[in-house]
Amino acid sequence: MAVERFPVEASHILMFARSIGDSNPIYSDESHAADTEAGSIIAPPTFAQASAQFDPDYFLRPKDGQKWFGSGGTASGTLAKKQDEDDSKSDDEKSGSSAGGLHAEQHFTYHRHLKPGDVLSAETKPGESWEKESKRAGVLKFSESITEYRDQDGELVVTARSVGVVTEKVIEQ
């Protein structure tokens, strides 16, 4: 994943905070935020993940001129397609959270907190991969990716480490 331009905007922060049920005014009220230690609206701790909205290659995102996935009259999705395409995909695309796979771990290191007006870029590099045997889901294939988010001045603001897992079979409940 490479994101060239991820503009951090107040309305996006508001929508994101709503979606996690967080009504803290630090995420929406400029005058409240001005009187806090942060000094301005900031983004919730997991907001950097919404960079997916700005990743031109993100495979779950609608793209101009291509039919998007999703069930209409019949069931459709990305799972079967993902398996067909698996060999042609780079490690980078396979790592992290993806359809056909599940999100196993997510870690954020904050060098500073994001705020409206930031314009971020992000570079993702593959990390380690490993396998584990599980009673509930068969062989688990884990792969790690590291994403560095930099601001408009090139300063590192957030480092994210994501671990994705592809399960051999559907997890038993």
Binding site: H12, M15, F16, R18, S19, I20, G21, D22, N24, I26, T36, E37, A38, I42, P44, P45, T46, Q49, A50, A52, Q53, Y58, L60, R61, F69, G70, S71, T74, A75, S76, G77, T78, L79, A80, S97, S98, A99, L102, H103, A104, E105, Q106, H107, F108, T109, Y110, H113, R161, V170, I171, Q173
Partner: protein, 139 residues
Amino acid sequence: MGLKADELNVGDSYSEVIVEDLTRTQIVQYAGASGDYNPVHSDEKFVTEVAGYPTVFAHGMLTMGMTGRMVTNYVGDGRLTYYGVRFVNQVWPGDTLTARAEVAEVREENGQTLVDLTISTTNQDEKFVLTGNATARVD
């Protein structure tokens, strides 16, 4: 406002119910805000007929986001220096989740006072759905 180092003790804890009866609507809302439209989270037809799960389930990142709300309510806004989790069980519509932070250590690093927290989120059956750690600046 952050926590005060001299008032913190190892083993102190804080918890919140972060969602009651999680709805499919909220899962869809998270998909829209985050851009993660993985059909296993919103497409009932796909997830039951193709993927083979009993119904849609929440994004791990939704649980991490809601758990993060408990963490920031405890440590204060803009205080986190690290927040990381493992998703250990799936979260389903109808679940009620409780998130908990426990003080593991208060320490000094590069002239800052930090608290390390052990984080966990459990469902209504007291099954862990998320485990992790966070570090925050304290006063």
